[in-house]
């Protein structure tokens, strides 16, 4: 750009100032290490767990699903990741003294809320097949509820492994461990099945799972942009599920307006090549309400169909 075209000295000065400002802005941006990965998580901290007394739950169950005295145990375990140890909270539905004989469902919850929010759902699982039939372990990831630390993809898996270790210490064996992952919880749930650290789970259950961060980006933009354009996140359950050999149960709302069934759950289900898989697509089911839209009894029957099938 010839300078004589820029007019007066005053204009050149003005342009220099503007360019300097832009360069400064660009420099700041270049040196920034902003990352949206932490914003994947939506942790809620609380001081006390309320369980059935939690008022915000939209899905209170009928009294027939109530737990009996002594059937709920709150406990803590230590979760280790990258040399740091954090105390995380868990709640066991069932009798801890019979874990060495029982079949247990490890429930990996979603991104919103704490154990309180998911308590009604785990009561449903607890009463699948028969009253108080399965043991259910619910826990809060790092940064959620009363658990210490900060959430991350790696922390989700570390926390789930810490819970599996706790179950193993109570006498559980892998053939009696089932893992249920809802939404965000599909990340540790699938990882536990593919890369078990202690016990190898026998079955995998997924509700409205995340397909991949790439799929989320594509859904949000309408363009084929990869996840690495905006965050250091590596979740790709659509690929990881190919390594899952355990039987798979998948339930997804057809009307899910957050993690669309066609771009998240369906590819996961299709890519699973294990010994058996079962799908439940729920008309009008949205993200988070699918079991309740399906109906409590149909939901439990659906779970039973899968859980009781001989493999």
């Amino acid at each position: 750009m010839p300078l004589d075209l820029l007019g007066t000295k005053q204009k050149r000065k003005s342009m220099n100032k503007l360019l300097l400002g832009i360069l400064l802005l660009v420099s700041i941006c270049m040196t920034s290490c902003l990352d949206l990965a932490p914003n994947l998580f939506n942790p809620t901290q609380i001081d006390e767990y309320l369980y059935d007394e939690y008022a915000d739950s939209e899905d209170q169950l009928p009294a027939e699903y109530d737990l009996l005295a002594g059937e709920l145990t709150e406990f803590t375990v230590e979760s280790e990741l990258d040399g740091f140890t954090n105390t995380i909270y868990g709640a066991y539905l069932g009798d801890i003294n019979t874990i060495s004989e029982d079949t247990v469902i490890l429930y990996c919850h979603g991104n919103s809320g704490t154990m309180d929010w998911y308590f009604q759902r785990t009561k449903l699982l607890y009463n699948t097949k028969a009253k108080s039939h399965y043991g259910v372990l619910l826990f809060d990831y790092q940064g959620y509820g009363r658990s210490e630390g900060s959430p991350s993809e790696a922390a989700l898996v570390a926390d789930a492994n810490a819970m599996v270790n706790w179950l193993a210490n109570q006498g559980l064996t892998g053939d009696r461990l089932y893992v249920y992952g809802f939404s965000l919880g599909s990340i540790p749930a699938i990882e536990l099945n593919v890369n078990p650290k202690n016990l190898t789970p026998a079955r995998l259950l997924l509700e409205a799972p995340i397909g991949s961060i790439d799929a989320m980006a594509e859904d949000g933009s309408g363009l084929s942009i990869p996840a690495s354009f905006f965050a250091d996140l590596g979740t790709n359950n659509i690929e990881l599920i190919k390594s899952v050999e355990q039987p798979l149960y998948w339930i997804h709302g057809i009307a899910d307006d957050f993690l669309a069934m066609n771009t998240h759950g369906q590819p996961i289900f299709d890519n699973h090549s294990g010994v058996f898989k079962f799908s439940e697509k729920v008309p009008d089911g949205n993200h988070g309400d699918t079991p309740f839209i399906l109906g409590l009894e149909p939901y439990l029957e659906s779970l039973e169909t899968f859980l009781l099938r001989k493999i």
Partner: protein
């Protein structure tokens, strides 16, 4: 009720989604240099409020001739999140308007995006056609714009993805001495379902998104002033 608030997380998911104003709708005069910036993006629901995504970019253009402007841009918000997005294009005046008939200009551009994390790259060609009316210091314009995406979507086998992402727009600018400020509305991606997206776009039809953008630029050429005076 588990509506998970990934909204901030998803800001970057719309980076490359027609996320700036139409560039140099009225081509610069020969030798004229203009530098500007814009901010805004698709409207979404954030904590119960309607806000445009705070995407931003800076750009510069040079009047190669009286009816051909060459320009380039750098997207600032994406850069802050380790993604380099550059655009380069050319804008040509196609029709000289008179009376109520608008002038028309067209643009060809390319948008290159590189992840500074892993080097992942995308290149999206872009075309635009813009009728505009100038009356004194004021300029009103409309536009039809399209991005082309030739890459394979990770979920392509499930009926998602397409190579054509269009937008229509309308904008208004006013010249203030050497400065031009403007506002632009865009109807984005009206062929792409957005209802089941992680981003809570405010669009009743469930298709695409509405976008609002603000723009400011400064001219550094001799003729910018005369254009206003005409």
């Amino acid at each position: 009720m588990i509506r998970i608030y990934f909204l901030v997380f998803c800001l970057m998911a719309v980076f490359s989604f027609s996320c700036s104003t139409n560039r140099f709708v009225e081509p610069l005069d020969k030798g004229e240099l203009e530098i500007g910036g814009n901010g805004g993006g698709p409207l979404l629901n954030f904590g119960g409020s309607s806000i445009p995504l705070p995407l931003s970019s800076v750009y510069a253009g040079y009047g190669y001739s009286d009816d051909l402007t060459l320009y380039g841009g750098l997207h600032i918000t994406s850069l802050a999140f380790k993604t380099l997005q550059l655009e380069a294009g050319a804008r040509k005046k196609l029709v000289v308007g008179h009376s109520i008939y608008p002038s028309v200009s067209g643009a060809l551009a390319v948008n290159g995006i590189v992840s500074l994390r892993d080097g992942a790259t995308r290149v999206f060609p872009e075309i635009a056609l813009n009728p505009y009316w100038r009356y004194g210091r004021w300029k009103t314009y409309t536009g039809l714009q399209a991005w082309f995406d030739f890459y394979k979507f990770s979920t392509q086998n499930y009926g998602y993805g397409g190579f054509f992402v269009p937008a229509i727009s309308v904008g208004q600018t006013v010249d203030l001495a050497d400065w031009e400020i403007g506002i632009e509305y865009k109807r984005l991606a009206f062929n792409v379902p957005s209802e089941n997206s992680v981003v809570d776009y405010i669009v009743p039809s469930g298709i695409g998104a509405h976008g609002i953008y603000l723009n400011a630029s400064r001219s550094f050429g001799y003729k910018a002033k005369t254009k206003i005076d005409e």
